[in-house]
């Protein structure tokens, strides 16, 4: 499968600070791809560099096969992190204008703009000026402008920020719908839950470096499933089946599932008369994988946002 985006040794410095530090990345076409990282990790700079908005200080980049990203502009839709619209422009004209920037004739852009707004339940806002719309509606209009020209690649920088739960859900549906049409969707986020729900593949970026680039499943599989066990007894021959060095928390034991698997563990617990009161085996989430990959420090930097979002979903 061809890559929508490919970069090798990408470097971008600002006044001696390396915002992007030797990034190697390959994003396959047709996938939903998440770029995860804390605020200030270099996500936006990396995306800007990959899209040709800014030039790298070193390295190579290919966008839809071209080393001149702007030459592919008509095939790309981009929603920047800092939303910007002409306040006096009508919603439908805004969409048409954004399409026109990418080569779509204005008339066609207006027709498609109305259609997109109707589908999003915002048909009534088509002829209103942007300044008359709510923030969420304006963001939706900008999103429509990002996709109006039917791009092959959509890049969304922190698309969920500033949206309420309902609009976040709408956006997730839109991303899935685009992916079903074969469009590559790349989005950056510092909220792991969105990536976990939407993405097939992710890159984890911290301090300008890519710590992981691959399938979400691969990231998760880096961690062993977690076992949470409650026993009646605190010692016995069954203890040999548990990993060494773990301590009980009351009657509870928390440990990674041994590589031998579930069956030998169960057998040892039963035959060793551990008195199993409760046993659960959890597959690790992306958050756990992220913590493991990017390190505790970076995970801490991500703050409570991810916790709250994760809570909303689970």
């Amino acid at each position: 499968m061809a890559n929508a985006i490919e970069a090798r040794g990408l470097v971008k410095e600002f006044d001696g600070f390396r915002a992007v530090d030797g990034v190697d990345i390959a994003i396959p076409e047709g996938s939903i791809y998440g770029i995860l990282g804390p605020n200030g990790a270099g996500k936006t700079t990396m995306l800007r560099t990959l899209l040709g908005i800014i030039d790298p200080d070193d390295g190579e980049r290919y966008l839809l096969g071209s080393d001149n990203p702007l030459s592919q502009s008509r095939l790309v839709g981009y929603l920047p992190e800092e939303r910007g619209l002409y306040q006096s422009m009508r919603a439908v004209d805004t969409i048409a204008f954004m399409g026109a920037l990418r080569g779509l004739p204005l008339k066609e852009g207006r027709e498609k703009g109305r259609e997109l707004l109707e589908n999003a339940g915002l048909g009534h806002a088509a002829d209103k000026q942007i300044k008359q719309l709510s923030k969420g509606m304006a963001q939706t209009v900008q999103l429509m402008g990002t996709i109006v020209h039917n791009p092959r690649l959509i890049v969304l920088d922190e698309p969920f920020s500033g949206l309420d739960a309902l609009n976040q859900a709408k956006l997730e549906r839109m991303i899935r719908a685009q992916a079903e049409r074969g469009v590559t969707v790349i989005f950056s986020t510092h909220v792991i839950a969105h990536a976990e729900r939407l993405c097939e593949s992710i890159a984890i970026i911290a301090q300008g470096k890519i710590s992981f680039d691959g399938l979400v499943k691969t990231a998760r599989d880096r961690l062993r499933p977690q076992v949470h066990l409650e026993t009646e007894t605190s010692d016995g021959p069954w203890r040999k089946a548990l990993p060494g060095g773990i301590e009980a928390e009351g009657n509870w034991w928390h440990f990674e599932l041994p590589e031998s698997g579930v069956e030998p563990l169960l057998t040892a617990l039963v035959e060793g008369k551990a008195g199993v009161r409760s046993l659960s085996i959890e597959r690790p989430g992306l958050h756990d994988a992220f913590v493991a990959i990017a390190g505790e420090t970076v995970a801490a930097e991500m703050g409570e946002g991810s916790e709250i979002e994760a809570g909303e979903i689970l």
């Binding site: 800007r48 908005i53 200080d57 502009s73 619209l85 026109a100």
Partner: protein, 409 residues
């Protein structure tokens, strides 16, 4: 290249429509009225002040007969030469009295407010006053006295008049004036517009739409579109002004006054005027966009644009200074230096018939405007978009400055 122009058209169209539909355009249309109103008011006020200040009163201390003759001469010659040609006359009581008049004391009396005092007789007059007043008015008063001495019998024939647009005697002077007026108009319009381009770019940066533009089209297109949108707006404004002016003149003004025709004729002069306006604006506009490129905030833009505006003013004065120095090295320098060239060349068009100079000048100005624009784009990408060196590939920098990044499928 076609794609760059297409994208520039998209930007230009949006900007043009946004400006035309905005309140700012109304203010732009009304803009010339303000200096006009201020100018007329200042002129009237200044004229009135000057009139009052320059209207001396001469005290006449002559015999009654001489005084009557002098007053009659004042009235007659005032009608012929204009009332303001001569000072006011005030007959002093002493003129009929027996006591000799002390002119010096009279002139010191503030209540009388006299500038000069005429004593003696018509054939033996004596004028008393300050040296300045005497030098200024002795000729006119002498003329009045001479006329009075003739008994006001000099017959002044009625002169039949025929008006022509110009004569060889005053044509050179009139063409210089035409050139200067054209320079002033070009400068005012150019400065006004270039400032508006700067505001427009700053607004774009502050409303954060610039990133969408930068991700979609080359920055050359953004800058080109903005420049030409403003130029189109200016031409629309000029069209409105001309239409209003001509309509107003047709309704209230009657015939246009005969104007001295420029050396190359009016149609070519107007065409070149429009071209030089476009060139002056494109060069200054590109420069201002470059300033916008170097500044990150509105305050920085204001700080940076002030010295440039002052420098532009000096360039304009430089061009104005050379209007009367046609063909001299300093005038040629003004014609060659890009920022003064449009002003110097329009003045030249008013005075010299040669046309090929203009072709060369316009070509040079276009090249310089393109260069300025390219530098502004590179600066913008580097300073505002924080773009880098473009990798270590050889020749990349050269391509960025002089080439256009191809865009398209």
């Amino acid at each position: 290249m076609i794609e760059v122009l297409r994208a520039a058209y998209v930007i230009g169209r949006r900007d043009y429509m946004a400006i035309i539909m905005s309140k700012a355009f109304i203010f732009f249309l009304l803009g010339p009225l303000f200096p006009l109103i201020v100018g007329v008011a200042a002129g009237l006020l200044g004229g009135s002040v000057a009139e009052d200040a320059d209207r001396p009163v001469v005290g006449i201390a002559l015999s009654a007969q001489d005084a009557d003759l002098l007053v009659a001469a004042r009235e007659k010659l005032g009608t012929q030469l204009g009332d303001r040609t001569f000072p006011e006359i005030k007959l002093l009581a002493t003129s009929a009295g027996s006591e000799p008049l002390n002119a010096k004391n009279f002139l010191k009396d503030k209540e009388e407010g006299l500038t000069l005092i005429l004593t003696g007789s018509l054939d033996n007059p004596k004028l008393t006053g300050t040296a300045g007043a005497l030098a200024r008015w002795q000729g006119e008063i002498g003329l009045l006295l001479g006329h009075a001495l003739q008994g006001n019998s000099v017959k002044i024939p009625t002169i039949m008049q025929e008006t022509i647009a110009e004569s060889s005697g005053d044509s050179k002077k009139a063409r210089v004036a035409t050139g200067q007026i054209a320079q002033v108009l070009l400068f005012m319009l150019t400065t006004l517009l270039a400032g508006m381009v700067l505001s427009n770019l700053v607004e774009e940066k502050s409303n954060k739409i610039i990133e969408i533009l930068a991700a979609s089209i080359p920055m050359d297109s953004v800058f080109l579109g903005k420049l030409f949108a403003m130029l189109a707006m200016a031409l629309t404004g000029v069209l409105v002004w001309v239409t209003v002016g001509v309509t107003g003149f047709m309704i209230w003004g009657g015939d246009l006054p005969p104007l001295p025709e420029p050396a190359i004729g009016w149609p070519l002069f107007f065409t070149l005027g429009a071209l030089y306006f476009a060139m002056a604006y494109l060069m200054l506009g590109s420069l201002f966009l470059g300033i916008g490129a170097m500044a990150a905030t509105v305050r920085e833009v204001q700080t940076l644009s002030m010295p440039v505006t002052m420098a532009q003013l000096m360039v304009f004065f430089f061009a104005m200074y050379t209007v009367t120095k046609l063909g001299q090295p300093i005038e040629q320098a003004a014609a060659i230096f890009p920022f003064s060239s449009p002003f110097a060349m329009i003045a030249r068009a008013a005075q010299v018939e040669t046309l090929w100079h203009h072709g060369v000048a316009i070509f040079g100005q276009i090249m310089f405007a393109i260069l300025t624009l390219r530098i502004s784009v590179v600066l913008f990408r580097r300073n505002v978009m924080k773009s880098g060196s473009g990798g270590k590939k050889e020749g990349v920098q050269r391509r960025k400055l002089f080439g256009v990044i191809p865009v398209g499928r």
